[in-house]
Amino acid sequence: MKDWVKKHPREAALLGAIAVLFLLPLGGVDGFYTAGNLRNLAIDNLPVLLAAAGMTVVIVAGQIDISIGSQFVAGGIAAGLLARSGLPMPAVALATLGLGALFGAANGLLVTVARIPAIIATLATMVLLRNGVLRATGGDWIQGLPSGFQWFGLAPASAPLVYLAGAGLVFAAAAWALRHTTAGRAFYAVGCDHEASRRVGLNPERRVVAAFAVLGVATAAAALLNYTRYPTIETNGGLGFELKVIAAVVVGGTAITGGRGSLIGTFLGVILLGSIGTVFTFLHVNPAWEKAIQGAILLVAVVADTAFGRRREGTSP
């Protein structure tokens, strides 16, 4: 136990913070600890969790993608339009995931082949994609979706549980793969040192494209889980999605400079940042505080990160 805390200080701190947060509503607040509320809380955070898994891979590989908010809404709209055109839902899902992979790979190619820094390349695709969506839909919401679209045609009572279980399994598999497969560890190597990874025979460019593609697929999956919850699809969705996701990943202990991070940490980061709002609502705290506290947590995480990094490099005075 003590060893675990020593080796995983970030995870331990997050667990502590989450414990404190979830203890707060125990003091005479009704309605927080009900199955319905907890289920809603979980399902609301599922899209962020999935995208954050992909984002962890991209940041570990030393990159960043700020276009995922646009990818998110584009994925949702693509799924809606395809479903409305009469495609069966499994095909809709596959096509949407494939489109996500394309978006991600395109970002990856801009970064590796065109050698544009990731933040600029994805800023460009963020704007392009969002305007493309507006142009294509004229800003109208997607309506008249087939009945099989919502919850993939599952019964509304059981569907959220199926979503949770499915996403949980995928996330766990991803966490395992990122730590225990050669392909997963290659992202760390590339993010740690591009040149060194070339020298050990990895192809860093290909890994970077792969990382972006993984994030594209994860974002498309997040879009599917999110937009199939509603009977209509908003064309202005996903605004600020990338910030939520990146914040959760960084709070989860992934180094923004690449090479270090874990999906366990990301999982805890999503829970912590994603639950604050709901807890505060039940405590009747002014919602304005939610963002402030989230910002403060992010700041503490980054400061802890740089202090930790410096100590390890041995350059601290």
């Binding site: 050669t182 290659a186 760390y188 040192d193 060194a196 050990v200 390890r312």
Partner: protein, 491 residues
């Protein structure tokens, strides 16, 4: 094992290599020698597949003709390079650094740890394989890289300046390891500036000069002097030209100078125009700290500084510059040249304010840079190439040029010849002689005693942040300086 023939490499605007041959046998330590910029690095890059040679080259490894040399391919054929600055994944664990890309698709961490320990044992190392590699000492990093190379069944091992940043004890252990590997039949190419090392372990020597192949010589045919001659292509009769300048009035004086935080106390020194004052002392004795105080990087907390006989207030670098002080720092890469900027901008950096008012006078800038580059003998294709592309010696000249552009009265040089080759070293020494003849005062910090003894008019020895004594050139001997630097009884 490895044979390179007819190797040439032309970069835009510069010819890095021509007609180079290299043959490496199993069970031999082969030294590759040459001044900085002679083409050693380019040759290694070609051998390891990082850079493609010009057409016509012939590369053979283990009897096999290699036509498509990529890093991966050369590695598979059993060639490994250990670079001067280890290319490790600092965030990843020792075990992972050793085993990366060597497992199947799924990783067993336990098997990894065992393999890692075995690899380390082979190089005589034993450290925690779960630590991140970034936390290792330099010597440990070198061992880790060699272990990694060996674990990939390397038959040809290229060591690029492996001991450059190691202390003597660690360097000795590394040389022992090289000898052990030779006995195991590994072919080793050893690149270094430390001639004593290769004279101790190498069987044959290949010498390059200005990108050309000079020859290959068995151990029995060479000695230190011959190797230096071959590398330099000229006799370096006098390594340290005595300045022979006339001493003028006192240019800089300190009285009871001190800086609390770095433990510097009660330093009273003078340096005259036309004089080279050597600063000796062990690492941590306060030599660099004194330079920083004089230059306003760490303002003095006690005592006073007089420049040209008048009390001076040096609270920041701007003050020091205005008083005609210049400081060429120790670490070229960190603080000396800006690698990404072209030569011309590196040289004009400290005098931008003087080169025109609101708008930069670029004609004047180029004129200044061209003049200084020529005067210092900077070897570069043009003054518009990035400083980072130059060899160490040339970078040092650029750093020097920048500060000479400020037309200083007192020049502080911190380890100006560290890590640069003999030829460039001699040029910098000659230049220092010329500068003092022009009436400059130079404060020379150096860890190389022969350099201090040969150049300085007086040597001030620091010990534990205090002045242990000042020796005039006549009385300064190796023993006398070391005596002052190390004597620890009375303080």
């Amino acid at each position: 094992m490895l044979s390179l023939r007819h190797i040439a490499k032309t970069y835009p605007g510069a010819r890095a290599l021509r007609g180079v041959e290299l043959e490496l046998r199993a069970g031999e330590v082969h030294a590759l020698l040459g001044e900085n910029g002679a083409g050693k690095s380019t040759l290694i890059k070609i051998a390891s597949g990082v850079v493609a040679p010009d057409p016509g080259a012939e590369i053979r490894l283990g009897g096999e003709q290699v036509t498509d040399a990529t890093p991966r391919r050369m590695q598979e054929l059993g060639l490994a390079v250990v670079y001067q600055n280890p290319t490790l994944f600092s965030e990843l664990s020792v075990a992972e650094n050793l085993c990366l890309g060597e497992d199947g698709p799924v990783i067993s961490w336990r098997a990894r740890a065992e393999r890692a320990r075995a690899s380390l044992a082979r190089v005589g190392a034993d450290f925690d394989v779960e630590r991140p590699a970034g936390g290792l000492r330099m010597a440990e990093k070198q061992l880790l890289e060699i272990a990694r190379a060996l674990s990939r069944r390397a038959r040809v091992l290229i060591l690029d300046e492996p001991t450059a940043s190691l202390a003597q004890g660690d360097a000795d252990r590394l040389l022992d390891l090289v000898e052990k590997l030779r006995a195991e039949g590994v072919a080793i190419l050893y690149i270094t500036h430390r001639l004593e090392e290769v004279l101790r372990i190498a069987d044959r020597f290949t010498v390059l000069r200005d990108g050309a192949w000079i020859g290959v010589y068995p151990r029995a045919e060479v000695d230190r002097a011959r190797l230096i001659r071959l590398m330099a292509g000229r006799e370096l009769a006098e390594l340290f030209p005595k300045a022979g300048a006339e001493l003028g009035e006192v240019a800089l004086e300190t009285r009871g100078l001190g800086h609390g935080p770095s433990g510097l106390r009660d330093i009273s020194l003078t340096v005259r125009r036309g004089e080279i004052l050597g600063l000796a002392g062990l690492v941590g004795a306060g030599r660099t700290e004194l330079a920083r105080v004089l230059f306003g990087l760490a303002p003095a907390t006690e005592g006073e500084i007089l420049v040209g006989g008048r009390p001076a207030r040096i609270r920041e670098v701007g003050d020091a510059l205005a008083l005609g002080l210049a400081y060429v720092p120790e670490d070229r890469k960190e603080h000396g040249v800006v690698e990404a900027l072209p030569l011309v901008e590196n040289i004009s950096l400290a005098v931008l304010r003087r080169l025109g008012g609101v708008w930069l006078d670029e004609t004047a800038e180029e004129k200044l840079a061209t003049g200084l580059a020529a005067r210092l003998g900077v070897k570069a294709a043009s003054i518009h190439v990035a400083a980072g592309t130059l060899s160490g010696g040339n970078q040092q000249k650029v750093a020097l040029a920048r500060w000479l552009a400020t037309e200083p009265r007192v020049l502080i040089l911190d380890e100006p010849t560290q890590g640069i080759d003999v030829g460039a070293k001699a040029e910098i020494h000659r230049l220092m002689g010329q500068l003092v003849r022009e009436g400059l005062a130079i404060i020379l910090i150096s860890s190389e005693l022969p350099e201090l003894l040969g150049l300085a008019d007086r040597i001030a020895v620091l010990r534990g942040g205090r002045l242990a004594g000042v020796l005039p050139a006549g009385e300064a001997t190796r023993e006398a300086v070391l005596h002052l630097a190390m004597e620890g009884a009375e303080t």
